[in-house]
C-alpha cells in the first residue's frame, strides 16, 4: 500500500504537512486538557468565585462544559485538517 505515496511524502511538502498537523493536534490537546483536567478538577478551587446556577464554573465544566468543548474541538480539527489536506494536495480525489 506504500506504492503511491513513497516518493511524495519524503519531500519537504510532506514534512510541512505533517508538522502542521502535529501543531494542530498539540494545540487541540492543550485545550482538551485545560477544560477537563484543568477547569474541571485541578483548577476548580480557583474558579469557585464564578457562580453558575447554584454552583461554580468548575462544576459546570466538569459536568457539561468540557463535553461541549470536546465537540467543538473535534469539528474544528476536522475542518482545519480537511483544508490542510487540500492545501498540500494530499486529499482524496
Amino acid at each position: 500500500m506504500a506504492e503511491t505515496t513513497h516518493s511524495s511524502t519524503l519531500t519537504s511538502e510532506g514534512e510541512a504537512y505533517w508538522k502542521a498537523n502535529l501543531r494542530l493536534i498539540v494545540g487541540c490537546l492543550i485545550v482538551w486538557g485545560l477544560v477537563s483536567f484543568g477547569f474541571g478538577i485541578l483548577l476548580r478551587p480557583l474558579l469557585s468565585g464564578i457562580a453558575v446556577g447554584g454552583t461554580d464554573l468548575g462544576f459546570w465544566f466538569a459536568q457539561q462544559g468540557s463535553i461541549l468543548v470536546f465537540l467543538v474541538l473535534i469539528f474544528f480539527y476536522a475542518i482545519r485538517m480537511n483544508s490542510l489536506d487540500r492545501h498540500f494536495g494530499v486529499d482524496e480525489e
Binding site: 500500500m1 506504500a2 503511491t4 505515496t5 513513497h6 511524495s8 511524502t9 519524503l10 510532506g14 504537512y17 505533517w18 498537523n21 493536534i25 487541540c28 490537546l29 482538551w32 477537563s36 483536567f37 474541571g40 478538577i41 485541578l42 476548580r44 478551587p45 453558575v52 446556577g53 447554584g54 454552583t55 461554580d56 468548575g58 462544576f59 459546570w60 466538569a62 459536568q63 457539561q64 468540557s66 463535553i67 461541549l68 470536546f70 465537540l71 474541538l73 473535534i74 469539528f75 480539527y77 476536522a78 485538517m81 480537511n82 489536506d85 494536495g89 494530499v90 486529499d91 482524496e92 480525489e93
Partner: protein, 592 residues
Amino acid sequence: MDQYTLNLLIVGATFALYIGIAIWARAGSTSEFYAAGRGVHPVTNGMATAADWMSAASFISMAGLIAFAGYSASAYLMGWTGGYVLLALLLAPYLRKFGKFTVPEFIGDRFYSRTARLVAVVCLIVASVTYVIGQMTGVGVAFSRFLEVDASTGLFIGAAIVFMYAVLGGMKGITYTQVAQYIVLITAYTIPAVFISLQLTGNPIPGLGLFSNDIASNEPLLSRLNEVIQELGFAAYTRQDGSPAAVINMTLFTLSLMIGTAGLPHVIIRFFTVPRVADARWSAGWALVFIALLYVTAPAVGAMARLNIVDTIYPNGTAEAPIAGDARPDWMKNWEVTGLLNWDDKNQDGLIQYYNDKSEGFAATAEQRGWKGNELAVNNDILVLANPEIAHLPGWVIALVAAGGLAAALSTAAGLLLAISSAISHDVVKATINPNISERGELLAARISMAVAIAVATYLGLHPPGFAAQTVALAFGLAAATIFPALMMGIFSKRINDRGAVAGMLAGLLFTVVYIFMHKGWFFLPGTNQFPDTIQGSLLGIQSTAIGAVGAVINFAVAYFVAARTADTPQHIKDLVESVRVPRGAGAASAH
C-alpha cells in the same frame, strides 16, 4: 391497556425492527462482514458508534452514579467523552487510511511481529469478554422487570435476537441495527428527562434545567439540592474533596477512562467502515454529538432524581417527619420486588427515615429524633428505569424506557461480539492457523466464531462470575495500558520497532494486571488482595480503577527505552507509517 401488554408491544415492535434491518443488510463478503463494505455515511456511522459505545452502564447506571456521588462522578462524564477527542485526533483517520479489518492486524503489520499481534488479540479478547458479561446480565435484569419473565428466559430471548442480526449481517447488519437502537435509546432517555425537568424547573431542556431555578423554592436547583441533602447528613452535592490524594485519583481515573475509551477495539473498528479518511474525522465528531445528547442530560437526570427522592420521603421538608411506610408510592413497591430498593423499618415507627447514618456530625440529631439507622436502600441502577414512574408519566413512556435499556445493552453486546469474532477469524484463523483460507471459508469462520462468542457470552450472563463488576477496571486498564499506546506509537513514531512495542505492551499489561489483582484479589478471589482498594490504603495512593493511565505511561517509557537500544525500524515499515499519515490513496488501500 395494562402496563405488561404495553411493554410487550413496544419491546416486540423494536425487536421486529432490528430483525427486519438484519435481513435487509445481510453481509455477502468479508469486507461487508468486518467493515460494512466501507460505505457507511459519517453521520450514520456516528449514530451507530454512539449506540455501540453507550452500554447498559451509560443508559441505566450512570445517572444513578451521578445522583449519589455528585461532583466526583464527573470523572465518568469527562472520561467517557474525552476519549473521542483522542480518537479523532490521534487514531481514527490513520487507522482508516491503513485500511485493514482489525486492531491486532494494524499492530501486527506496523510492528512486523506476530507476537505483537497475538498480545493485542489477548488484550482485545479479555477487555471485550469482560464487557459482554455486563451487557448480558443487563439484558436479563431489564427483561425480568418489564416482561415479567425470569432473568434466564430474558437472556435467551436477547441472545437469540443478537444472534439473528450479528451472525447474518456482520458489521453491515450491526451498523444499521445500531442506528435504529440509537434512536430508540435516546428517545427513551430524553422523554422522561424533559418531563422531570419541566416539573421541577419549568425548563424543557434538562441540561439547562440543571442550572436553573427550582420552582418550589425559587432558588437554584443545585443549591436547594445541596441544602436538602446536607440537612440529612450527606455531603453537599457539588462539593469537591480537595485533598491532594483525592484530586490526583480523580485526575488519573478520568485520564484512564479517556485513554481506555480511545483504546477499546469495538469502538475503533467502527471507524474502518466509512468511505474516506476525512469521513473518519467527521464521524468521530458526529459520534460525540450523539453521545453528548445523552451525557449532557445524564447529570440533570441524576440531580433531579436525587431531589425527587428526598421530596417524596419528606413531603413537608427535611425538618418534618418522613412519610409513613404504608403511604409509600407504587414505584417503590414495584422495585422492592426486584430487591433493588428496600425499606427496613429499623425503629418500628412505621415511617421511612432516609439519611446518612455514617455521618458523625448528624448522629446526635438522629439519636434525638429516635432514628435507628437509615431505613431506605436505593440501588443506583434503578433511577433511570424508575424515573418515569417517579414522575407519574404514562405507561407507554415506561415501556419505551424498557425498550431503550434493552437497545443500549444489545447494541453494545453486538459490537463487542463482532470485535471478538473478527479477532478470532481474521487474526487467529486466517493469520496463524490457515493463511490460505478462501474468502468464503473466512466468512464461514467469522460466522461460526460469532455464534460461539454469543454462546459463551450467554453462558457467562447466566452464570456471571462473582467478579463481573470489578473487571470493568480491568477492561479499561488493559485498553489504556496496551492497545492505545501501541496504536499511537505506531502512527506517531517511526523509531519504535517490534521489540520496543512488544516490550512496552507486555510491561503495561503486567503492571496493570498485577496492580489490579493486588487491590481486588488475585484473579478476583476474595481475600487474596495485599492492599485495600481505597485511596488511603493503596500502593502509591492510586486506586486500581485509575491505574490504566500509569500503565500507559510505563508502556510508552519501556517501548522508547527498548527501541532506542535495538535495531532501527526497517525502511518498508517507515514507508508504511508515512503512507498512513497521508489521506490520499485510502480507497486503493482498502481494496483488499
